[in-house]
Symmetry: C2
Subunit: 298 residues, 2 copies
């Protein structure tokens, strides 16, 4: 089994490390948060004292952090991953970051003879815990094949989206659709209710009609329509509004770079921004239906 | 078999009449358009010389016209359906019209001892031709049961949405979701392409992920992803942009009445308005993806 290095032990990183250990891998971990480090050690991971040490000792290195800037800081510079990893190491960035930074890092990795993939995930904490994440992967086909045994420990629906950065593109485009769908069905459920058609009845009808979407039939924002979804549990996440806003901001940054106007994408971003700014960042993203009920001005 | 009266022999009405005749009913028809009348007679219908004559001679009366105003004109007044139909006649309005007018007509029907249903359809001309329309029905449960044998001649997914007007509510809310989904996936497919991820690849990924929706997996605006859809045939309808705009305008009128702001619904309406005003009213509504490709300003 390979020696794996894992940097970033947050809500997602922690259960991912746990699944790598469960499948027999040795995992060396690093995080600035001491509590997170202790808890990974309890799970059976070993502590590295620095990014450089972890990089030098590992065959496969994962990062799972918040922003493109953080990933760059981890990768670059004399104490970073690229300067310290063994030649031909495999580096997998599972963070959701902007496409430009990801592609820039792919170039740098190549110069350092490191095989890099961008491999952002979806499925949330639950998906991470149950090793059923969807993983969208960008990078060379051969590197994707090399990484599969490790990615298979973490997720179920693992897709090669194409060249460098395409994993990030797939993730932000998919999540832009998801955000738009969630707001669209929420507005429609609320409108139906106001007009005397119970939301549950619209669910029954539209879930078998042309309004069907994953946001409705697998993640209904109306309680008691679908089993085991946050709306049944007072909108406890799940996938927080804050995380959805992050992905929407990435989509809008990418749209800006691409000089493409995405009207509904931009509007959805504003709506989630308002939700987060009104103190609901930690609420599940399907909780937006409650805010939209209150939009009574025309 | 019942004597059926059918008013409105357009693209939808014509094949609906055909299916009623096929299932053994006698159908008396009326339309101001002489050509449409002749073609229905060729199918085996009989011509009525007026709405009043048709109403007096029928057990079941259908209307399938464009606007609430047209339906009101057909129903009300001394030459209208309500004044001339036999007591306890069954009146089914399959037009897609505004909720307020529909509910007002239900009240008038009741005063005239006529059993009314609002029963707008979806599935387009193809659905009408193949008797596979989805039909969303508002009105009393007992009247719905009474109408089922006739509706079964026309469609497959026939749902009782509740009281008077709820068929119209279900239709406009469902179609508002559909329009938002179609624009949302179009923006995302276009963004993916601009960022170097082929739209077909995003289709492959999102159709099995949280971005999945009917607009994608049953009606893809990207050609050659799904069989038998307008995008494969140069966006020939199908369901025209003009008809989608009509339903969106109904949704916004209803939102106005209900004093609910539907941000994405309003934005989707503007976008289809622009598409129609630029001369694409007769294009399939999935053709919006082409217009959205050109939105390069930020």
């Amino acid at each position: 089994m390979a020696q794996i290095g894992f940097i970033g032990l947050g809500h997602m990183g922690q259960p991912m490390v746990c699944n790598l250990i469960k499948t027999g891998h040795q995992v060396l971990v690093f995080d600035l948060n001491e509590v997170a480090m202790q808890s990974a050690i309890t799970l059976g991971a070993k502590a590295a004292s620095s990014v450089a040490e972890l990089s030098a000792a590992s065959d496969v290195i994962f990062t799972m952090v918040q922003t493109g800037e953080q990933v760059s800081q981890l990768c670059l510079g004399e104490h970073g991953i690229f300067a310290n990893a063994k030649p031909n190491s495999l580096y997998i960035d599972s963070s959701s970051i902007d496409v430009e930074t990801s592609r820039e890092l792919h170039l740098q990795a190549q110069e350092n003879e490191i095989d890099m993939l961008d491999a952002p995930v979806s499925g949330g904490v639950k998906g991470a815990e149950t090793a059923s994440l969807a993983i969208m992967v960008g990078g060379d086909e051969a590197v994707f094949e090399r990484a599969k045994p490790y990615l298979n420990c973490l997720g179920k629906n693992i897709v090669h989206a194409g060249a460098a950065g395409n994993g990030q593109v797939a993730k932000i485009c998919n999540n832009m659709i998801l955000a738009i769908s969630m707001i669209g069905i929420s507005e429609s459920f609320n409108l139906a209710e106001k007009l005397g058609l119970p939301a549950k009845k619209l669910f029954e009808i539209s879930s078998k009609a042309s309004g069907q979407c994953w946001a409705m039939t697998s993640y209904s924002p109306v309680p008691d329509c679908v089993d085991n979804v946050p709306s049944n549990n007072d909108y406890k996440p799940g996938f927080t509004a804050q995380m959805m806003l992050k992905d929407l901001n990435l989509s809008q940054a990418a749209a800006n770079t691409a000089e493409l106007k995405t009207g509904l994408g931009a509007q959805a971003t504003k709506i989630y921004q308002e939700f987060v700014e009104s103190g609901h960042g930690d609420v599940d993203f399907s909780g937006i239906i409650e805010m939209l009920k209150l939009k009574t001005e025309r």
